[in-house]
Symmetry: C2
Subunit: 339 residues, 2 copies
């Protein structure tokens, strides 16, 4: 390879340089030697029954942040979208758009991180694509992953299964991902112990479905838009009011301090390793017991309740001070390029 | 929506503006009203048996070019990767990374084009993602599509099925896509009748497999890197020499003139609506008869032969002037951001 240290436009040309990049950098870093078919136009996946299919592009800046990087995030994000759909992840695609000038050593690190995360999530990266674009500002790498998963036989999930009385479970404190990424941004340098929660959630979701089956009514990971966006979506789609209890929401004190310093609402900040599960009231304690066995969900709590049905559903939070406030969908974007 | 005319960073925040963009612009343009599940974390696809799974990102500049645009290209490219794998496309994902400032009217046109192409290719766009990044130079939109297809029962495709004596069929003239895109680039303004060949190939591949079954040994669409990259890949992976006959390769005279003006080798230029099929010698005439029924493959021809097996396989072209030249994998990139 001509320049072994930086990506060149020519690496995206589909010729010998592209092949060398794929064979010498991308496949070994991703652990692709186990996936020889990755070089074909399409991978063959053997599957049957209902499959979940999802995609996300990742544009996070900077590419590496405390607790993760764009490679880990790109695998977790798509694994988690499959997981909250009640599916066991089977196969991922992995497409990169690199900017000219990207350091190949950095690219390797990010791909190795993606490969490691895929292996933790027990999913194979089976197909991919590599494009190169001109250099602009910033560290340039965009990753898209799509994923296929097998929907578990016992899964009965959907907005239409949510009913009044259901409990809303959250698996840990809010805001760690968004604030950890912000902590690395230019001009900001708050506390060092703020680490992204970025993690695959497949073990949590599989354990809940396996053990509680149809008592789990709905699951989602509160990423962009935070818990507020997730809960308002749930209220609107299920046509039910929701009440959150602020005092029950697990808190990371560093994250809370950081959000207060920045004037951000913790309910709006992105998480990448948290699960929101809507569970039948009678199964809520069992759900907490199941979740407590997983390190990433040790601080799980019932943080809210599905209220009565309503044409104009409202999400309210009973505050720690005894008041009530309306929780709204965030309007725009507090933190750009957070995932 | 605050500014109805241009994409803002806040459109990528996962809040109300993102929802409005998705519901008011993206879904109606893509024709997504038929796909209400597109708003969930994952779509459910019912499928069984071996599935083909593939992905590509599209970074073409400009976003609209004679004969196509990035929306059409993003659907065709992934449909074609499934098609050449012997699969019937079932479902596509569609993820956009838009730059701040992108005109929403342009975005609508591009998405409508993608939606129309998906409907021609009889495939549903079932899941998606929307991100926004800061403005840089150029018209900013990157699209990623991933696709799932059902592998046809009669398909028996693979490098390992290619044998000496097989015929190499090409379904039409080379270079139209790459040169049509170049014709729109700044500073270049050659002939107006140069139009991208961008088209879905699923009908061609399905007809070949349906009628000839295992006599079709391998298929690929010669995109980035052109026919040269495809044929060198075939030679290397099948460990067989290949001879191309220049006189039999269909020619678009405008494209040829343009490539000569630019000093480009037609064998290296990207195509987006051509198929290379490696077919058993005894079935080659039948294959041509099948292909001749499709407008986009009217000029199909046998352009080469698989030669004897070799440790160091060589691709040679017998030129129209009676000479022979070695065909090599292009090294880097003659035409950046062509797909």
């Amino acid at each position: 390879m001509a320049d072994l240290e930086h990506i060149q436009l020519a690496h995206g040309g589909g010729g010998q340089l592209t092949s060398e990049l794929i064979e010498q950098v991308i496949l070994p870093s991703l652990g692709g030697s186990q996936n020889p078919r990755i070089l074909s136009d399409a991978a063959i996946v053997n599957a049957s029954g209902p499959l979940a299919f999802t995609t996300d592009s990742y544009v996070v800046q900077p590419l590496e942040f405390p607790g993760g990087d764009i490679g880990k995030l790109a695998v977790c994000g798509t694994v988690n979208d499959l997981a909250v759909s009640g599916a066991i992840p089977l196969a991922l695609s992995f497409a990169i758009v690199a900017q000219e000038g990207l350091e190949i050593a950095l690219l390797r690190r990010l791909l190795e991180s993606a490969g490691r995360t895929a292996s933790v999530a027990k999913v194979s990266i089976v197909t991919g694509d590599t494009k190169v674009v001109e250099r602009t500002a910033g560290e340039g790498l965009i990753i898209n992953t799509a994923g296929i998963g097998r929907v578990m036989d016992k899964a009965r999930l959907g907005f239409d299964r949510i009913v009044s009385g259901d409990c809303l479970i959250l698996t840990g404190p809010l805001g760690e991902h968004g604030l950890a990424v912000m902590s690395k941004r230019k001009g900001l340098s708050f506390s060092a112990d703020l680490v992204s929660d970025c993690a695959p959630l497949h073990e949590l979701t599989q354990a809940l479905i396996e053990k509680l089956g149809p008592a789990v009514h709905f699951m989602r990971d509160p990423t962009r838009g935070g818990l507020a966006a997730t809960v308002v979506d749930i209220a609107n789609a299920s046509h039910c009011d929701i009440t959150l209890e602020e005092a029950t929401i697990p808190v990371n004190k560093t994250a809370l301090a950081a959000s207060e310093m920045l004037g951000l609402d913790m309910l709006h900040i992105a998480n990448e390793g948290k699960l929101v599960a809507v569970v039948e009231e009678s199964a809520a304690k069992d759900a907490l017991a199941i979740l407590a066995k997983f390190a990433i969900a040790r601080r799980s709590a019932i943080v809210g309740k599905i209220g009565s049905s309503s044409e104009m559903p409202l999400v309210e939070m009973a505050t720690s001070f005894g008041g009530r406030r309306v929780v709204q969908m965030p309007y725009g974007e507090d933190l750009p390029r957070i995932c």
